[in-house]
């Protein structure tokens, strides 16, 4: 790693950490601006009980001190106690939900990249022909469909009408539909990126040189072109993560998967503030780190890019 790259790495890391801190601060102060106490919604409690509960969860101290405590606890991996699922810590619930969401999310992301790169390359190589036009129409349609429309339509078609796949996430094979509904939009996006990137690379001089030398067409594409077309796809890693994590909120609800997204929407219903804060910070950190990794990897892979 040369000095310039290291400099960029450090700068980008500081930026990511600052953003994470900002997310924590926004989350904390927004949630504390709510006038209602998280316990006041339960009617059966007297004021004394509410006060005792607030003392237990540390809600009776001044807000800045609460913030510092919260920050300190987060650094130790402690996101507090859940008030909606009494007896559970927030981090336990998050890890429990994330084990599902991660499985769905990473499979969806992986499929999106693999199929996106293949379809995009095919479209570029068949430029202007039938297959290219078909792929273009399909991707345009797919990026115009919100995740919840996609998921409910797939549920309607494959689970309810045709009965090929289960509609619930806990049945065997039940994660197939959630994965498909989450992967189609990013796949279409990667396809478009890959198509324009492949067209760009195929027009380069070194490809013409390779062809002029008499290198076989397949070798030109796989050996010379493909590697250089993948850089734009890398930068999409962060936005894709953001799409998949937020999309999983609706998809997990539609297919009843007990993942992080479902946990998040349920904690909104139960007005579990500690949970809402914890999940927001957790998801935001994942997205910001993915953005960071994508950016750094981009510079490592393509050293020509100006680092200023």
């Amino acid at each position: 790693m040369n000095g310039k790259l290291l400099h960029y790495f450090v700068k980008r890391l500081l930026m990511a950490l600052l953003t994470i801190f900002l997310v924590i601060a926004i989350t904390f102060f927004v949630m504390h601006a709510i006038p209602a106490s998280p316990f006041s919604s339960e009617k059966a409690k007297s004021d004394a009980v509410i006060a005792a509960l607030e003392a237990k969860y540390g809600f009776d101290k001044p807000v800045p001190i609460q913030f510092l405590n919260y920050l300190k606890n987060i650094l130790r991996g402690d996101f507090g106690l859940s008030t909606g699922w009494v007896g559970n810590t927030v981090i336990e619930l998050i890890i429990g939900g994330f084990s599902y969401s991660a499985r769905i999310g990473f499979t969806a992301g992986f499929l999106a990249i693999i199929f996106g790169v293949i379809l995009g390359s095919v479209a570029a190589l068949q430029r202007g022909k039938f297959l290219d036009k078909l792929i273009q129409i399909l991707t345009t349609a797919l990026v115009s469909m919100p995740s919840f429309v996609m998921a409910t339509l797939l549920l309607l078609l494959f689970a309810l009408q045709l009965g090929w796949l289960p509609s619930m996430g806990n049945q065997p094979g039940g994660l197939i539909l959630p994965v498909i509904s989450l992967s189609l939009y990013p796949m279409a996006y990667v396809t478009r990126l890959q198509r324009s990137s492949m067209l760009d690379v195929l027009g380069q001089d070194y490809i013409r040189t390779a062809r002029a030398k008499g290198v076989k067409n397949s070798r030109v594409i796989f050996k010379h072109a493909l590697k250089n077309t993948l850089t734009p796809v890398i930068t999409y890693a962060g936005p894709m993560m953001a799409y998949i994590l937020t999309g999983s909120m609706v998809v997990e609800n539609i297919f009843s998967v007990p993942g992080l997204g479902r946990l998040f929407t349920n904690s909104m219903l139960r007005t579990d503030y500690m949970m809402i804060m914890g999940v927001t910070i957790f998801l935001a950190t994942m997205i910001i780190l993915m953005n960071f990794l994508g950016d750094v990897l981009y510079k490592v892979v393509d050293p020509r890019i100006d680092l200023s």
């Binding site: 349609a141 409910t152 309607l156 937020t246 609706v250 809402i276 935001a284």
Partner: protein
């Protein structure tokens, strides 16, 4: 000067004898004038856009949908709140027993084009209102983004130097905040405040809508600001700006004649791309139950409500799903057309 006096002409001289020529007629002169009249950038772009059939069809679809969404409710015989317990979950064009009896008596009853929902409300008018919400969100978000983005980007680009550096660092940080999460967080937080708010407008819009607009105002303008700033920075360095400065053009003239016209294409492209993502966010929030407040329908909340009876009444999902798909698709295709028309360099 001496040649003028010379009357004798050397036959070998290459000097042209004007007597051998005749004057051009006006018609011939007219032919020499450049065949193409000068075309302004705007007209040129509009011409390119008009040639793009897909973009024009999308534009027509958007105009048509907007007309339906804003005019039809004024004369439609049903309202989005009117419940009729005897007409629950009717299929499209089906009449309830009560309505059928009235028809048999010779009364005219307007058909439920898309059927009715679980509370017996006419579904077509609810889908139309949902479409209206989507369009309004898209248009207002574009306006917010345009106003804030241009001002911020223009200041940053115009002043340059330290001001620019600080302003762009702020943009970088805002850019990396996960916007959807913050919209959700805000709408959870202001739900209480909205439900107790005295303002009729805010109460009718609902927590989700208010927070969507707050977040658009706080976060979504950054890509616009980046683009405008980049454009202004590069225009500042152009030779024609230097040239007009050299011949004494005032700064206001440079801004009016060079900066703004050269930013217009970027502004149009970014704003057009913003609209579909704003519509996505609103429908997503409404689907989660954080968007518009009941009984106001949104395409997202309609799709969410349709899930309970999905097996028996699939059309209650299909209609809002198709509407949102059609709107977003048209805006996407129009956006692509605008990009190709206004910035041929960006074409991929």
């Amino acid at each position: 000067m001496s040649e003028k006096k010379e009357t004798f002409k050397n036959p070998l001289s290459l000097q042209i004898d004007p007597k051998l020529f005749e004057k051009a007629t006006d018609e011939e002169k007219a032919q020499q004038v450049s065949m193409r009249e000068s075309v302004s950038f705007m007209r040129d772009a509009m011409r390119r856009l008009r040639r793009n059939h897909i973009a024009m069809i999308s534009l027509c679809v958007i105009v048509l949908v907007a007309l339906i969404a804003f005019i039809v409710p004024t004369f439609y015989p049903y309202t989005y709140t009117k419940q009729d317990v005897s007409a629950q979950n009717l299929a499209p064009f089906q009449f309830s027993a009560k309505e059928q009896a009235k028809i048999d008596r010779g009364q005219h009853i307007f058909p439920h084009i898309m059927g009715t929902d679980a509370l017996g409300r006419d579904y077509a008018i609810r889908v139309i209102y949902g479409t209206r919400i989507s369009l309004l969100v898209g248009i207002f978000s574009a306006l917010i983004v345009i106003v804030i983005g241009i001002i911020y980007g223009a200041i940053s680009g115009y002043f340059g130097g330290k001001v620019d550096m600080i302003m762009m660092r702020i943009v970088d940080i805002i850019y990396s905040l996960p916007d959807v999460l913050i919209v959700i967080l805000l709408s959870v937080a202001i739900k209480d405040w909205v439900s107790t708010s005295k303002s009729d407008l805010i109460a009718r819009l609902g927590a989700g809508m208010v927070s969507i607009f707050i977040v658009f105002g706080l976060l979504y303008w950054v890509s616009m600001a980046r683009q405008v700033r980049g454009q202004i920075l590069s225009i500042k360095e152009q030779e024609y700006v230097l040239a007009s400065k050299a011949i004494g053009a005032s700064p206001s003239r440079i801004i009016r004649k060079h900066m703004i016209p050269n930013c217009v294409s970027v502004i149009i492209i970014v704003a057009a791309m913003q609209i579909p993502s704003a519509i996505f966010t609103e429908s997503f929030l409404s689907f989660l139950g954080l968007g518009v407040s009941v009984p106001m329908p949104s395409l997202g909340s309609l799709a969410s409500d349709a899930r309970t009876g999905l097996r028996s009444y699939p059309y209650q999902l299909i209609f809002p799903a198709l509407s949102i798909f059609l709107i977003v698709l048209s805006f996407n295709l129009l956006g692509n057309g605008l990009r190709d028309a206004f910035d041929p360099k960006l074409r991929s």
